[in-house]
Symmetry: C2
Amino acid sequence: MAVSDGAGWNDGEAMCPHRLILEHVTSRWGVLVLIQLLERPYRFSELRRAIGRVSEKMLTQTLQTLERDGLVHRDAKPVIPPRVDYSLTGLGREAAEQVRDLALWTEKRTADVLAARQAYDEARAP
Amino acid sequence: MAVSDGAGWNDGEAMCPHRLILEHVTSRWGVLVLIQLLERPYRFSELRRAIGRVSEKMLTQTLQTLERDGLVHRDAKPVIPPRVDYSLTGLGREAAEQVRDLALWTEKRTADVLAARQAYDEARAP
DNA sequence: CGGTATCCAAAAGGATACTG
DNA sequence: CAGTATCCTTTTGGATACCG
């Protein structure tokens, strides 16, 4: 086995725990999942559609990591067809609110960043 | 050429700009650079030592991306040996403060997350 | 010192097929 | 529907060598 297929984050290294938590929270899909769940609970496929362009695999991995960290609650109803709802825990809501604030900030400042990029690029491609 | 060596983020895709900015700010090394520079300006090697375990390549890439986004200011003094100081711009400081708050939150909640993980693991490894 | 360029290993991520 | 398992591609990241 190639050690890192299908298992999610590897996290086996010696890194301070809080850096690791920060990486889970700020990870590409973690950010989007947390922000989305801030609105309301979501089912798996619903979440997938809401976020867009995320593969099942990555969404599953992300949700499992966040659940393990105690940020997301997974509620699997024993029905056919299966139904699983994901929601934020109290801890998750705290994290999600901060992440959302950061996301709102980037939206608000997008124009400034884009202008800075243009200036940067023009300065070195004459 | 393998298209993506030595150049930094590829960012060529069609993604909403603010998601991209968020990824730069929350990237593995971006987070740490922003937090460190919040304290004071740093020189390249100084920053490398302060962060620890970051390669020259990744630090260079991260700094260039943040500079291009207008978050970090690069001040290269024309002396021998070269001396380059990095500091936050006004925009960068706004981002850095939010990122730092998130990092402080993870530190404060580390124990809770660790406990959640243990409960999670014990529940499925009997 | 503060980088670039190159090469290579490791990890992330996606497509597909399959299952309860 | 909500996953798992597998295979494969792309991206990330580090080591090394070199340059102004």
